[in-house]
Symmetry: C2
DNA sequence: CCAAAAGTGTTACAAGTACACCCATGA
DNA sequence: TCATGGGTGTACTTGTAACACTTTTGG
């Protein structure tokens, strides 16, 4: 056994990040269009190799920041995908991450350099064919996201600092993909005690709505 | 950059398996005593490197079979641990797995070859100091195991083919670490419809108990 | 005054939890 | 006959889901 074969006898370690947002009342995921490699022209999740001196979480945050410019957002390890052949070019074990961001009109940014041909939000309900096993990653991530929305406050990452209960409900409906009863939603959300009434109103075309804010803008279990 | 540094610029990929069983009404985990390396003399979870031609699940199953001789058992990916420095000798990213087996009196086997100095079941409530970050892995695995016991039928892996409801309850209490109300337990378990009455009795020192079996001996959600 | 969104309570049902007594057997 | 574990039912509490009308504003 040569030294070379000894050190190459382990798969490459990478991270893939499924970044979600809600646009037009529908859940969207951030995709990049690959410029080279075996899947050139296909869409994929942003991601890349893990460096030797960084943790997995740090690698995911770094890759995400490189694509969106955002840091300090909700980021959670999802699952690790390591079937041989998922990347036809080499054996890659990829640690999947889930992230949630408010759209805010600033995303997606232009591709940095020429690593990707394009960056775009795509609705989860109608995805293009994805490279590698990224369709599985997105499906797993969507499922996890919906489950966690039910028992955590992670929704705060998707909203501006102040919002109405209708905003919050619309966002929940976008992520969950179904409509919710307005009275039960308000009862349940307010009973959790995660929100604080701002004391001001948002005025619009019709009756003004009370503004709320999350008491804590950091991930915590309910 | 040399070819050598290029191919070594990825962490090593390994699996660690937390194998649980219930012994004397308490949850136990299978540990091995390391013979060499920076943690020689310490206890750790069994595990090892992932080969280039096998999936992560296959690697976990292979390592587990090497330690216990068992295959075709409940095995689930848990979480991936990749903090730099968790292995002082080299950068290792380890995919943690959880397994459940019935004790059956056959385990643990003698260590295979001389890779490990010893193999032993240790109670989760009183673990020795563990190598690497394996205390974290065991804590995460215990938490996952308890959560899944509540909404899956994975308990079947811990019991022989036929058992009494008292056996089943005792096992649940061992895993969960708390006592359960007998009437509510029986009501809930039977209402799930996962069990089939065998139609025979187990005779002992006192009133005989009805024997049951799982309808399906494979992992399925309730 | 009208259209549109905001805001609010009650009832019914299901699920979960607490709790005490009788039964069957071997010793 | 007694000690021991097996077996059962009911009441209460909690959570969840269904459901309709009034209020406030801008146009």
């Amino acid at each position: 056994m040569t030294a070379l074969s000894a050190v190459t006898a382990t798969p490459v370690v990478a991270v893939d990040v499924a970044v979600f947002t809600v646009l037009s009342r529908a859940l969207h995921v951030l995709l990049v269009e690959l410029r080279g490699g075996p899947f050139a022209g296909h869409w994929a999740l942003p991601g890349g190799r893990v460096r030797l001196d960084e943790s997995l979480d740090a690698a995911a945050a770094r890759e995400l920041a490189a694509q969106t410019g955002l840091d300090d957002i909700y980021l959670e390890q999802l699952y690790t995908f390591g079937t041989p052949g998922r990347d036809p070019a080499s054996r890659v074990v990829s640690v999947g991450y889930v992230a949630l961001i408010a759209h805010g009109g600033r995303f997606p940014p232009r591709p940095a350099g020429d690593k990707y041909a394009a960056v775009a939000w795509r609705p989860v309900a109608a995805l293009p064919p994805l490279a590698y096993d990224h369709a599985t990653v997105v499906a797993t991530a969507t499922s996890r996201l919906r489950a966690k929305l039910e028992y955590t406050n992670l929704a705060y990452t998707l909203l501006p600092r102040e919002f109405t209960l209708a905003d919050l409900q619309e966002m929940y409906e976008g992520v969950l993909g179904r409509v919710l009863d307005r009275r039960n939603f308000r009862k349940r959300i307010l009973a959790l005690g995660l929100l604080r009434p701002v004391g001001r109103l948002r005025r619009g075309a019709h009756r003004p709505a009370a503004l709320y804010a999350f008491r804590h803008r950091r991930p915590m279990l309910i």
